[in-house]
């Protein structure tokens, strides 16, 4: 079975600030990491490979520095990494991203299963997985909290909040996994070292045969018109003072007054 896992590099912080002069995001000095839920997708892929054999390829679109994320994926146990990196890919919204990722899936070819993490911590759209499935014209299973493959079908529980749906989709299919589906294995430094020898390929837009009107900024119908910090709401916060013990007493008083003790 051939599994492609789509992995994104995201900033390793919630603490993004606006540059007061330019209104742009200040990204300098911000470390990056593998999007946490993508590690769940990798783990799911590795477990399926352990059971059914085959290979796991990791696909990332991003800047050249995204190789760090790929090394981690290979260190976890993926077999091969593909980085889609080219200036014209920049500024892509989820439509352009899904087109580019689908072109890569087609070029790799022969896939049975595409795996995605539920959402990326920096964009939060959760749109990429279903959109890539639509680009390729294959079925999808989103919100998957379990995954098994049997007789050419992928079978999952879908966690829909109040209900759980058991569904199956015929391969090739895309599955978007929830964070709780598994506990991702750790890529030890020694395994990351050993994984240096695994094949890594970088593809440009030309390599993928992309229609330049469908990638990056030209291929993105949506754009950000304005970025702003949320209005501060004017609640009169009562700040507790003194030592931690004194604050604890004041909090306990509050709980008593609210009849919560």
């Amino acid at each position: 079975m051939k599994i492609l896992v789509f992995v994104k590099q995201v900033p390793d912080t919630d603490d993004v600030k606006l540059d007061p002069k330019t209104g742009n995001l200040r990204r300098d000095g911000v470390k990056s990491m593998m999007n946490p839920m993508d590690a769940n997708a990798i783990e799911a892929a590795l477990q399926l490979r352990e059971k059914h054999g085959g290979s796991v390829c990791v696909v990332t679109m991003g800047l050249p520095m995204a190789t760090e994320v790929q090394k981690k994926a290979l260190g976890m146990g993926c077999d091969e990494a593909f980085l889609l990196s080219d200036r014209p890919f920049g500024g892509a919204d989820t439509l352009a991203t899904s087109y580019t990722l689908a072109k890569a899936a087609e070029k790799i070819g022969g896939y049975d299963l595409l795996l995605f993490g539920r959402l990326a911590t920096d964009g939060d759209t959760a749109q990429t997985g279903p959109a890539v499935a639509a680009q390729l014209g294959i079925p999808q299973i989103s919100f998957a909290s379990s995954i098994e493959v049997e007789d050419g079908w992928v079978c999952c529980d879908r966690d829909l909040g109040d209900t759980v749906q058991r569904v199956r989709a015929k391969l090739p299919a895309a599955v978007i996994v929830n964070g709780g589906i598994n506990k991702p294995r750790y890529a030890t430094p020694i395994n990351i070292m050993r994984a240096q020898k695994k094949p890594r390929t970088v593809w440009t837009a030309a390599d993928l045969g992309c229609d330049m009107a469908k990638i990056g900024t030209p291929g993105s119908p949506s754009s950000t018109k304005k970025v702003f910090e949320p209005e501060k709401r004017n609640t009169d916060t009562r700040y507790l003072t003194g030592s931690p013990e004194e604050m604890a007493k004041a909090l306990a008083d509050l709980l008593e007054n609210e009849h919560l003790l």
Binding site: K17, D93, D124, R166, A169, S222, P230, L260
Partner: protein, 331 residues
């Protein structure tokens, strides 16, 4: 030509003949948008034996209901629904399509984005027209300390999934009626997708949404020992342990403990936030709490914008003292 596209569409998500509550909220939001652009509001209703829902849609603000009944559409699956909506959108050319940011909406809408080759904004928390008359969707971005106006300038329809509960439905107008348009479509069943079973979800803890007291931990909670303090405090107060996203991302707590835009919405009597900075997404999930207490070492943390009571200190010192104090008073 984008001027050929007119009208506001609301995808009338239904399951087993029951409308999703978010549909009524989207209709109310569309009424606000209509004040600006004067365009017709159409609810698009797909399913089988669902025509009775049209009256509800009229009562809650739809000018028209586009009804497409087909056995293939009786229960939802992505590809037949994609086919049906694509055909309808290509024929009627609406300028705006809104979907609830529900599990179904978030499964379906990205496929329409691809099929219609247009933009789709995810999980918008507000919609409107800006000073240039451009339709925008507000989304929190980059960890939620920043809001963005997303616009879809050239392509049509302009689409968004919209976060549940961002506005209240209008007072229903009894006996309201409107234009009922029935469409017969050719939709193929999906032979490569099958729902085998639907069952009620098992919960790992008591429901967060019902809790009177919620103790939630954030990024500053690093170890199981630290989390145990929060758990003990929640237990002492008869409350529930919850978290913002980092503790779910790193696997310390399951997703059903997460508060915020992509988690649960809670409204307890007491919401105790421990080492939580308070992103916009997080605040969406807990801002209706009656009493909000924040413990965070950084006095700039946005959580203090909505906290009623703040303790700018190290929770690792404050919580043990608070636990002792509560134990002493309970004796």
């Amino acid at each position: 030509m984008k001027s050929d596209y007119k009208g506001i569409w609301v995808f009338a998500e239904q399951e087993n003949g029951r409308l999703h509550p978010t549909v009524l909220e989207l209709l109310a939001k569309s009424k606000e948008l209509q004040k600006h652009n004067g365009e017709k509001i159409t609810a698009v209703l797909l399913g089988a034996d669902v025509s009775a829902l049209a009256d509800t849609l009229f009562a809650y603000g739809a000018d028209a209901v586009l009804l497409c009944e087909n056995e293939v559409l009786r229960s939802y699956s992505a590809r037949p629904y994609q086919q049906a909506l694509t055909q309808l959108a290509e024929k009627y050319k609406p300028s705006i399509i809104l979907y609830g940011a529900t599990p179904l909406g978030r499964d379906l809408a990205p496929r329409l984005m691809v099929a219609l080759d247009t933009g789709l904004t995810a999980d918008a928390i507000d919609l409107g027209f800006d000073e240039d008359g451009v339709f925008y969707q507000t989304t929190p971005g980059y960890g939620g300390k920043i809001l963005a106006h997303i616009v879809i300038l050239e392509r049509r329809p302009q689409m968004a999934t919209v976060h549940p509960q961002i506005c209240a439905p209008i007072e229903p107008i009894p006996g309201a009626s409107g234009e009922l348009i029935k469409e017969t479509l050719c939709v193929e069943p999906d032979c490569a997708y099958e729902v085998l079973e639907t069952r009620a979800a098992e919960k790992t803890g008591e429901s967060l949404t019902e809790a009177k007291v919620v103790v939630a931990g954030g990024r500053g909670v690093k170890t199981e020992e630290e989390l145990a303090m929060l758990r003990e405090l929640a237990g002492l107060l008869g409350g529930q342990l919850a978290s913002s996203r980092p503790l779910v991302d790193n696997g310390m707590l399951p997703h059903d403990r997460q508060i915020g835009q992509s988690g649960a919405t809670v409204s307890p009597e007491l919401m105790l936030n421990v080492a939580i900075s308070g992103s916009v997404q997080y605040q969406l999930g807990m801002q209706k709490a009656k009493c909000i207490v924040a413990i965070n070492q950084s006095e700039d943390a946005p959580i203090y914008d909505i906290a009623h009571v703040g303790a700018v200190t190290d929770y690792k010192k404050l919580l043990p003292a608070l636990i002792e104090e509560i134990k002493a008073r309970k004796k």
